[in-house]
């Protein structure tokens, strides 16, 4: 019981290849390689499939949270900040409604391609929703994160997509936040903060980039000073 028989291995191999085939991936094996090397290629291809978005080739939403959590933890260890940028294509629904989903997909692919072209080697770009993307900007200072986000934002504004008749020019709204080296922020909270900034960019005219320090919304300067007055008012604390 529990033995891994050779025929089971063959079966597993064919299942793995079927998964790759169903996802539109080619057989990753190279003729002439040993069975172990071929198996490794299949495992690598499956891992790659599990973390990437099929339409754009960017990291998918599930793996994005894994990377973001890891980078937030790393930023606390290295005492450098981790930036998070969220981007959303403006008026995307109108594109889908007017030109159809195939054009919508082409727009998403075009934006993803531009996004990939302007990343630093350590950045991670993900597609986290229909027309929503995120970029993790690790290991930087706040000004680096702002600079990187401004560069990305300028590349994406506008993105031109050629159609059979004419072309579409689309803008993208973006929000940027960054962590504090002293305060652990959950990936959920950081993403929610970045989303709020992105919506602020939408509300204030679209095609814009809005940003803030995530810590500033966790506890504002006013809240901090209000909390600290307890020490001044109450001698019993010995603050």
């Amino acid at each position: 019981m529990g033995e891994n028989r050779p025929e089971d291995q063959k079966l597993n191999l064919s299942n793995a290849l079927r998964i790759l085939h169903n996802a539109g991936r080619e057989d990753p094996r190279v003729p002439g390689e040993s069975p172990d090397e071929q198996l490794q290629r299949i495992i690598d291809a499956l891992c790659d499939l599990s973390i990437h978005d099929g339409l754009t080739g960017l990291v998918n939403a599930t793996f994005f949270h894994v990377v973001l959590t890891r980078e937030i933890e790393r930023s606390l260890r290295t005492r450098r900040i981790c930036g998070l940028m969220v981007l959303d294509i403006d008026h995307f629904k109108a594109v889908n409604d007017t030109h159809g989903h195939a054009t919508g997909d082409a727009v998403i692919q075009a934006v993803a391609a531009e996004l990939k072209s302007c990343l630093r080697s350590m950045d991670t770009a993900a597609r986290i929703g229909g027309e929503e993307f995120a970029v993790i900007l690790p290991e930087c200072a706040p000004e680096d994160a702002i600079h990187a986000a401004m560069r990305i934002h300028s590349v994406l504004n506008p993105v031109t997509v050629k159609l059979e008749a004419g072309s579409l020019k689309l803008t993208t709204s973006a929000g940027l936040v960054w962590t504090s080296p002293d305060l652990f922020v959950s990936s959920i909270v950081l993403l929610s903060e970045a989303d709020q900034e992105m919506y602020r960019a939408k509300r204030t005219g679209r095609g814009r980039l809005c940003y803030k320090h995530a810590d500033s919304t966790m506890i504002s300067r006013q809240e901090r000073s209000a909390l600290m007055t307890l020490g001044r008012e109450d001698r019993f604390h010995g603050w």
């Binding site: 949270h65 305060l183 652990f184 959920i188 209000a226 109450d234």
Partner: protein, 262 residues
């Protein structure tokens, strides 16, 4: 309704800042509640740095990670302490390369749901900070018990925890327990901290869409040398020094929880 089986009340003990005595308080409240006949389970919800086994002086053979990653049956992992309550132990850290994903959260939720009929109270001893795991357990709980000390950093981190749980998850009610207060005026310190925290909360958090936030002070535990002594001996206060002032206060907190929620 008479005869209807009551499901367990889930209480998350959180703190924001680490080292405020959360695990010691959880363990002692569990012992006090079990001494009055309640069926208690503590879930070591600090999946990163589990330490309840050390505080309780026990060595459980398996952890919740054995259920989640190795398919070990729940019954083998649930650990019966010799202190009147059960423990769901946690290992120190998730396996390398894994994160607290939604699927994992769903599995933890199913495990807890399967235990609801067996206990009157399930206490979550959460980790420090406002990370995904802490927020998950806090949001899963019926009651959130925030432990703070009079230190400004503790109060600040406690406030941050309330703010996030309120703004992200819409939680409006929090129980507050002040720990390590000056023994000469612990009650006054507790009331002062609760009053001040409430006033800052009312000023900065109440105006948003989720409605007013209310904190309820349920006790102020005095700084007591019996506590570190008990921890060094890996015993509960009820075992090592049942007459200590901190032990008395923790019993009072347990009585409060019993009367209010059970």
């Amino acid at each position: 309704m008479a005869g209807e089986k009551q499901k367990a009340r889930r209480i998350a003990v959180i703190s924001g800042k680490g080292g405020v005595g959360k695990s010691v308080i959880t363990a002692n409240i569990a012992a006090a509640l079990s001494s009055i006949g309640r069926r208690i389970l503590i879930v070591d919800a600090d999946l990163g740095l589990a330490n309840l086994d050390i505080i309780l002086g026990v060595a459980p053979p398996f952890t919740i990670q054995d259920i989640l990653y190795k398919g070990r049956p729940l019954e083998e992992v649930l650990f019966s302490t010799n202190k009147g309550f059960d423990l769901m132990p946690a290992g120190s850290g998730l396996p390398e390369g894994t994160m607290f994903t939604q699927a994992l959260a769903g599995n933890v939720e199913s495990i807890l749901a399967s235990l609801e009929d067996r206990y009157d109270v399930i206490l979550f001893d959460a980790g420090a900070g406002v990370g995904d795991v802490v927020l998950f357990f806090a949001n899963l709980a019926h009651e959130i018990l925030l432990v703070v000390t009079p230190e400004p950093t503790s109060l600040m981190d406690g406030y941050a925890s309330i703010k996030i749980l309120h703004q992200v998850y819409g939680r409006n009610e929090f129980l507050l327990l002040v720990n390590q207060a000056d023994p000469d005026c612990s009650r006054r310190i507790g009331a002062s901290i609760a009053g001040h925290l409430q006033s800052v909360i009312s000023r900065y958090l109440d105006s948003d869409e989720h409605g007013p936030v209310r904190i309820e002070l349920i006790g102020a535990i005095p700084e007591d040398p019996a506590v570190p002594r008990a921890v060094m001996r890996r015993q509960l206060l009820a075992e090592s020094c049942p007459g200590a002032p901190a032990a008395f206060l923790m019993n009072q907190v347990a009585d409060f929880l019993d009367q209010k929620f059970l």
